[in-house]
Each structure stands twice: as structure tokens, then as C-alpha cells.
Symmetry: C2
Subunit: 255 residues, 2 copies
DNA sequence: AAGTGGTCTAGACCACTTG
DNA sequence: AAGTGGTCTAGACCACTTT
């Protein structure tokens, strides 16, 4: 006998490292400060660079760090609380708020999963509006809003429009509908190539995928698929008045 | 000249691998089926095992795969849609629904972030109720519900209780309050050691952290921090009637 | 005991940003 | 050109589950 605790809990190195770094971040670093580079850190802690990276990846996933190739690793600010309006006028597509910035609009046949949600025909093309949402001058979310042509009949006449102008036109028509409600789902995903570019992240970066169904006239009038940067965003589902963009950190359980 | 596309887009191997595997999963495998082991797969694709693992990790993050040490890698079923009630009677702690299963209850001083949300004193101990939520016989979420002693004054008399019985007592008292509303935030996190055990995952596994503020008598009466398995869960925020446990996959953008 | 995924190493090269 | 993080390799050993 002698050692009961030491051998019986072979905590992975990267896990222990993460804990140590996490505490150091709380006490010895300020937001925005750059950490020593990975080679220096791995040497200092006496581990391989891959192991050190495993710890950094976790901390980045938790929104504690921000890493940029060619630049370095910096201490991330607390996550931004972004309101994903539940039934306030807020999120109704087409409203003049500039939460969302129209980018483009094409007609295409949506992915099978979206077709299923729309309940429309399988080969049908729908207006696909591309929008981005920004905060503090940075893009934090990219959305594809799928609006079946049947839902906005007034549009065919304005055909010639393209790009952002076209997107605005579709949204304007869409706004004419009396929206009856929305329906949301949130899940974890990883950024595709296009999303990654818009979010200024590498492909595969973790994102929170918010799928919204917009109801009008008893049917699903549109489906939105928004991808939020999971590293920098905390999605808030208000209800109690406060239309907040609360920047206060919510919680982190004992590590 | 000659090659413009080939050299200009040096897509990472693991990314390409992920795409190939993803398509194979759609066409050649059934849910629950076990894949060849990592050494075989890496050999078959002519890459190092670490590279293969990078692709598998992403697919697991997206809920397409499930890996268990000592067992193997299997094709995951579509994510489970779990309702995170917005203001339906549903989620009121203490209701007899068995969405949540009381596990334990201790009095302790909560993490700083929770203290901030509660607006209570800093050194104050609060009733900390531990609950788990299951679906299909598996635990999908673990929650710590922080209830300040001041909010449930009727409890001190029943002191001797402990464990799950104590938890039920606190919830019963809490239910007596007239809840006025809730407030939620969702963000990405990684499972701590205790959470991981309850969720049957390894520490560091990705989780969706749902922070709920319960309002009563014009104050924050309790704060819940729930961690949902991000690999298997899709959180739904109903509003349109349907109290669903929709098991249909919502979407996945073109890879 | 055998087979699986999980951790770790030491090194190499690449893509990107910045002076 | 120098410095950063990102990708990739080939191998080793460990922890866990199943037989």
C-alpha cells in the first residue's frame, strides 16, 4: 500500500493541463492578452505539442480562448448573449431592424431535411435568402432562409432583381404575410466551407445550428437555418421583457 | 499552367475523409451498425490513425457516429428532439411529470456565476438539487438547480431528510411558489467529471448548457444549469402546440 | 487474452499573417 | 523572412469491454 490516490486516478495530461491553464487565465491574464506560442507552452509544461493543443482546443470550445493562424492565441472575452427572439416582433424576417443583413438570394432546391420541414414538393425550387447577423462589427451568425415561391406570390413580377436587392424584395413580400408563430430547435454542428468563411472561422468550427419554422396561414411559410459561432455566442431565449444583449458570463461548473 | 484547381485547393485530408465517410454512412450503413476499427479504416484510406480520428471526431460531434472505448464505432441514430419548454407548465420544477428525476440535494455555496444570476449574497449556501433527465432509458441531461434557502422557508423543519428524498422535499416546497416566468440561455460547453459520469460520456464531451432563471415574486427564485449531451440531443423550443419529442433530423447543410 | 478506442510522443511540413 | 497556428505521420502505451 501507500499510494491509493495517485495511481488510481490517472487523469489524462491534457485534462490536468486544461485545468491549470484555466486557472491561469482567470488570475494571470487579461482579456485580449496573447499567450506564449504553442511550442513555448508545450516546452514549459513538459508535454508534446499535440497534447498541449488538445488542452487548448477544449478551452477554445468553451469560449475561453481564441486562436488564429499566423497570429496567436488570445484570451477570449466573455461570450456574447444574443437574443434569439421567442415571439417578440424582433426576429420576424423583413422587419426594418438591422439584426440581420441581407446578403444574397438564389432560387434552388433545398436540402432534403429542409424540404421535409417545409412539407413542400421534393424537386421544388424555393427562394433561398442568405443573411448574416453581426455584433460589435463581427459576423456572429449566417442564415439561409428558405421561402417557397408559393408563399410570396407577389414576387414573380420583380424578377430582374438579384443579389442583396433580391433578398430584400423577398423579405419585403414575406413580411406582408401575417406570421402566426415560430418554432425553434438548437443543436450542435460544425461549420461548412461557406459558413466558415462568413463567420471568419476555419471549416469544421463548432456552431450552434438554430432551425426556425415560421408559420403563416396554418402552414409552414418558411424555414430558417442559422449557424451561430459556438465559441463566442450564448443564445438567449428571452420572455421576461429584457431585450438584452447581456454580456455577462452565465456559468461554468466546477472543472 | 495545367492544373488550376488541384493545387489551389489543398483541402485537408481529414476534411475530405469526413465527406467520404459521411456519404458512406448515408448509403452503405444502417443505424447501429458498427464500423471497421480505426486501424483498419486508417489503413484502408491510406492515412495515419490520428488523421482518421480527426474525421471521426467531427462526425461524432455532428451526431453521426457514436464511439465507445473497448467496444467500437457505431452509426448513431438521428438526434433526439427534446423539448425545453418555453413557459408551458412542463418544466416547472416539482411538477409530477417525470421528465426530471431527483438524484440528490446538498447545501453548498454555488459557483460565482450562479451567485451573480441569483443576486444573492456571495458566501450564502443554497439548496442544490441534482436531477437527471432520461429518454429511451438513457440519461440525456444532468442539472443542478440552485434554490436559495430564503425562497423555500417551509423547509427548515424537515431538515433530517437527505439524498433524493431531500431533493423531492425542496422541489415540493419550490412548487408552492407561484412561478411568474422563465428565462433561458443556451451555449456550448464540455462535460465536467461528474456530469460526464452521469451522461455516460468521457470528461470533456461536448454538451449544450442550458441556464434557466426561474422568476417568482418579482425576484429570481432559482437558477438551473442543465447540461445536455450535444451529440445525441436537439433542443426544441416549442410554442406551437405540439409537445413533441420529434425524432426527425432537422438539417445539415451541404458539406 | 484479445480487441477496441483514448492518450501521448517527437518530429515534419504547410498555410497564413505580419513586419 | 520570421513567427504563428493547422495538418500529418508512425509509432507506442493505456484504459476499457468483451470473450
Amino acid at each position: 500500500m501507500g499510494n491509493t490516490q495517485l495511481a488510481s486516478v490517472p487523469e489524462p495530461k491534457y485534462w490536468h493541463l486544461k485545468t491549470v491553464l484555466s486557472e491561469a487565465l482567470d488570475t494571470e491574464f487579461a482579456v485580449g492578452e496573447v499567450l506564449p506560442n504553442e511550442r513555448q507552452l508545450s516546452a514549459r509544461f513538459g508535454v508534446a505539442r499535440a497534447t498541449l493543443r488538445q488542452a487548448l482546443e477544449q478551452l477554445e470550445l468553451e469560449g475561453r480562448l481564441q486562436r488564429r493562424r499566423g497570429v496567436g492565441t488570445t484570451v477570449a472575452p466573455p461570450r456574447l448573449g444574443v437574443a434569439v427572439g421567442t415571439d417578440h416582433g424582433q426576429d420576424r424576417p423583413g422587419t426594418d431592424d438591422d439584426l440581420w443583413q441581407p446578403v444574397d438570394c438564389v432560387d434552388a432546391v433545398p436540402p432534403a431535411a429542409v424540404v421535409r420541414l417545409l412539407g413542400s414538393g421534393s424537386g421544388e425550387t424555393v427562394h433561398t435568402v442568405q443573411r448574416t447577423r453581426s455584433a460589435d462589427g463581427r459576423v456572429i451568425a449566417a442564415e439561409l432562409l428558405y421561402v417557397p415561391a408559393a408563399a410570396v406570390p407577389g414576387l414573380s413580377a420583380i424578377e430582374p432583381l438579384a443579389g442583396a436587392a433580391r433578398a430584400r424584395a423577398v423579405l419585403r413580400e414575406f413580411r406582408r404575410l401575417g406570421l402566426e408563430g415560430q418554432d425553434r430547435a438548437v443543436e450542435l454542428g460544425s461549420a461548412g466551407a461557406e459558413d466558415a468563411k462568413q463567420l471568419d472561422r476555419l471549416p469544421g468550427a463548432p456552431v450552434l445550428v438554430v432551425t426556425t419554422r415560421h408559420f403563416a396561414e396554418g402552414r409552414t411559410a418558411a424555414v430558417g437555418v442559422a449557424t451561430y459561432r459556438a465559441d463566442t455566442c450564448r443564445l438567449t431565449f428571452g420572455e421576461s421583457g429584457a431585450v438584452q444583449v447581456t454580456p455577462q458570463g452565465p456559468d461554468r461548473r466546477a472543472s
